[in-house]
């Protein structure tokens, strides 16, 4: 009973005239879609994930991937994907696994927001000729500064909380060693150092190799507490408690035993081959007061020298939750929207749970302001940031900074084939296979991620300059410089943005 699910999604077209039978494509395909049969390369289309590795590696440009024309009768509700999923589950009786972010909801509110520019009444600022500043401090800010006059000089009586100094308001998100390779981890860490920002360790601890970069790494403490020990906390630039993530709100991280190699076992402090399954909740956090205790415990453990961040998935009641997190002493809150990526998540959770980061961010920023506590915590938005335009819009809605995950991986070579959960990543990113890992050069990868961050920084300065702003803090929460286009009244109201033309 194989029925139509065996219809492959992609087709590998090999130009037989151009192919010189070098077999390089076969060596490179980690999904086994190409084999050597009868003295030629044979494609097994049903195994192809369209990762583009063979296409890139073919010296003769002899390979092209095509989407298989559907042979199914079209139906607007029973889409091909819907039918495939039902068929797969009727065969396996199991949860559907997925990678990357939400595929069900195509509207990205960022695309319906338009930025402003100066014309006539005030001058746009030219970033090539005038300084424009992007520096950002993440952490708790005092409500006022108290100075004392001592003769001719002034003394600062206000004690500042520890803050993360970022040269750009773009951070690299939390992706664990285990989900991604140590080479990918190293590339991201090096890039963070190069651009004066931070990367996240993810929930799998920190490989020995990464410690030299640790002053640019935010070390994560998640419900599994993998790899958490005093030296780890001590090494990081900040500590982040992961309550949830946008790709799987309410679900803990899963790393299959097959990915637990000896190095990962050492880093995570768990046995080789054992599944690393993070509990859905932290079992010492059943409510907000428990979170406050963990925040304080981590501050105590790091001698009050490092900011403590708390990351949550954007869920319905996000504004009230963040108010509680702020009052629990978090120096920054990371809000991960429902389009955020991941290595592995149940598809049904990924596509149906949570809310868009734009709305969550706007309502949290507004709520904290109404309560007069916005200065007490920084807000970091993540999950959908695809370009510098998204960065600017998130900041104008109220974010202090953003985090990027998928974009950073694409810079490393990821083609978004959405098969991270298989561990077979042909680009050496989401894999622990030594042969596949060797495909990613951390130094070259770091340069590419650094280039991406540099390019976005330059674009951000152009955006600011056009708006007549020469420092990022004057865009922060400046919803006056946004207009909504094609958004309904209620959405605009939540965003606190006027419709275009008004």
């Amino acid at each position: 009973m194989e029925m139509y699910s065996s219809v492959p999604e992609f087709r590998v077209d090999i130009d037989r005239q151009a192919c010189r039978l070098c077999k390089r494509c076969i060596e490179n395909c980690s999904f086994g879609a190409l084999e050597w049969r009868d003295n030629k390369v044979k494609a097994f289309n049903d195994r192809c994930v369209a990762c583009q590795r063979c296409v890139s590696m073919c010296p003769e440009d002899a390979i092209a991937l095509r989407r298989t024309p559907s042979v199914m009768s079209a139906h607007p509700i029973w889409t091909e994907n819907a039918r495939r999923d039902v068929f797969t589950q009727s065969r396996t009786g199991a949860i559907l696994l997925a990678s990357t972010g939400n595929e069900l909801h195509e509207q990205v509110i960022f695309d319906n927001l338009l930025l402003d520019a100066c014309q006539v009444t005030n001058p746009a600022i030219d970033p090539l000729r005038e300084p424009i500043e992007l520096r950002t401090y993440i952490g708790r800010k005092p409500r006022f500064v108290e100075l004392e006059e001592l003769g001719d000089s002034l003394r600062l009586n206000t004690k500042l909380s520890p803050a993360l100094k970022l040269e750009i308001p773009i951070m690299i998100a939390q992706m664990s060693y285990g989900a991604i390779s140590v080479e990918a981890h190293e590339a991201l860490a090096r890039a963070a150092v190069m651009r004066g920002t931070t990367m996240g360790s993810g929930e799998g601890g920190l490989h020995k190799k990464l410690y030299p970069y640790a002053d640019h790494i935010i070390v994560q403490v998640a419900s599994g507490r993998f790899g958490v020990h005093p030296a780890y906390l001590e090494a990081g630039a900040a500590v982040e408690i992961k309550i949830g993530q946008g790709a799987k709100p309410g679900i803990g991280g899963h790393l299959p035993g097959t990915k637990i190699t000896d190095e990962i076992s050492e880093t995570r402090m768990i046995p080789i081959g054992a599944d690393a399954i993070s509990p859905a909740p932290h079992h010492d956090i059943y409510s907000i007061e428990d979170l406050a205790q963990l925040v304080n415990a981590l501050k105590e453990a790091t001698r009050y020298k490092k900011p403590v961040l708390v990351k949550i998935a954007a869920v319905h009641n996000v504004a009230a939750i963040c108010s509680g997190i702020c009052r629990a002493g978090a120096d920054a809150i990371v809000i991960d929207g429902f389009r955020a990526g991941t290595g592995a998540t149940p598809k049904v959770i990924r596509d149906n749970v949570g809310i868009p980061v734009e709305l969550a961010l706007a309502s949290v920023d507004q709520r904290l302001r109404e309560e007069g506590i916005r200065n007490e915590t920084s807000i970091i938005a993540s999950g959908t940031i695809r370009n510098s335009g998204d960065v600017a819009k998130a900041i104008a809605l109220g974010a202090d900074a953003v985090k990027i995950g998928t974009a950073a991986l694409i810079a490393l070579g990821c083609t978004v084939c959405k098969r991270c959960y298989t561990g077979k990543c042909a680009w050496g990113i989401a894999t622990q296979d030594p042969e596949l890992r060797s495909r990613l050069d951390p130094v070259e990868g770091a340069q590419r991620v650094s280039n991406l961050l540099l390019a976005w920084s330059i674009e951000l300065k152009e955006i600011l300059g056009a708006a007549g702003i020469n420092s990022i803090e004057s865009l922060r929460g400046n919803r006056d410089r946004l207009r909504g286009y094609g958004l309904d009244h209620t959405t605009l109201e939540i965003l606190g943005v006027q419709p275009a033309g008004s």
């Binding site: 100075l147 000089s153 600062l156 007069g372 400046n478 410089r481």
Partner: protein, 355 residues
């Protein structure tokens, strides 16, 4: 584009309106007749202990309503219509009224905040606008060129030791009486030339400190920011100026360590109070509530890359701050010195002597 002018005599010699009106009128090509206004300090020596509320009323019936409201909160010592004459080009959209009031004894310890709250309450009722609320000072403003507004309010009848004037060329909101400058809160008044690109950030920052912006124009936030920084948070004028027009991080890094710590703390704390976009402003402060030993001050400041002009001059204890040198020369032929302040650095004129 707008025109601004400030004149202050540091010995509290009261000057007639002639100088300020002549000076500001010379810059009529910087404005378009959609707003003009003046602030005057030392205006009511006989009522100097009372808050002088200048209120614009949309219609006459509102007068009793406002008076009733005031009676619930303050003691009215005296009230009267602010005298005006017909001026051809000005349509009398509002009736200006002044109330001299004091705060009931049980609230005197926090009288200033009490008056601000009251002013914001009246502004939110619709139809009535408190355009100034300080002691021994007042604001006069309307739609028209500054010289027309001066004639409207019969300014020739007033004398003051410190004057501000503004001619408006509205660029972001329509011209209306409330939108004309100066913007004033308690003893602070401000005239502004420019367009604030950080308005949304500044406004939302101020809202979390209880200020309500009700004039639909960017310049309003400057008055509230100054009030917050100088009066409520007690920052010295030099440092409050560094909040509005902060040095670049690169400059901060080159400062001596102690100064650097202070400026870094200010930028981190008051980042949302930074005023971006072009501005030239003159701020008058009658009472010098803090940092100036009870004396008044006039402060001139431009944005940190000086995208708007500001020029200063001094002669025999009188200081002038203007958009254009010509405006100063029109009323003071041979100043002792004339200078252009550096971008983002305040020029401060102090007033001596007792009120």
């Amino acid at each position: 584009m707008c025109s601004i002018l400030g004149i202050v005599n540091e010995n509290r010699k009261r000057l007639s309106a002639k100088y300020i009106v002549e000076g500001i009128s010379l810059m009529n090509d910087r404005c378009n007749g959609l707003g003009g206004g003046f602030a005057a300090y030392g205006l009511y020596p006989e009522y100097k202990d009372y808050y002088a509320l200048h209120i614009l009323l949309k219609d006459f019936e509102l007068k009793d309503q406002v008076a009733e409201m005031l009676k619930d909160y303050v003691n009215i010592y005296k009230d009267e219509e602010i005298e005006t004459r017909n001026v051809e080009r000005i349509s009398q959209d509002y009736i200006p009224w002044r109330f001299f009031v004091d705060v009931p004894e049980r609230y005197t310890s926090d009288a200033d905040n009490y008056i601000i709250d009251l002013a914001m309450k009246i502004n939110n009722t619709g139809g009535a606008l408190v355009i100034s609320s300080g002691k021994n000072m007042g604001v006069f403003k309307a739609i028209g060129y500054p010289d027309e507004v001066a004639r409207l309010y019969k300014l020739e009848n007033y004398k003051a030791y410190m004057w501000l004037a503004h001619g408006r060329y509205p660029t972001n909101t329509r011209g209306w009486w409330g939108g004309a400058h100066p913007f004033s809160i308690l003893d602070y008044s401000i005239v502004h030339n420019g367009e604030i690109t950080s308005y949304g950030t500044n406004k939302r920052f101020l809202e979390s400190y209880g200020y309500k912006c009700s004039y639909f124009t960017d310049s309003e936030v400057l008055a509230y920011l100054w009030d917050l920084l100088v009066r409520r948070h007690k920052l010295p004028i030099e440092l409050a100026s560094e909040v509005l027009a902060p040095p670049f991080w690169e400059q901060i890094e080159r400062m001596p360590p102690e100064k650097r710590r202070i400026i870094e703390a200010l930028r981190m704390t008051y980042g949302p109070a930074m005023v971006n976009g072009p501005f030239g402003i003159v701020i008058a402060n009658g009472s010098g509530l803090t940092g100036t030993a009870g004396n008044g001050t006039m402060v001139g400041l431009s944005d940190r890359i000086k995208l708007r002009p500001l020029i200063c001059a001094r002669k025999n204890g009188t200081t002038f701050m203007a958009s254009e040198e010509s405006a100063i020369k029109a009323v003071c032929k041979n100043p002792d010195n004339v200078w252009a302040p550096h971008a983002g650095k305040p020029t401060v004129a102090m007033v001596n002597g007792d009120v």
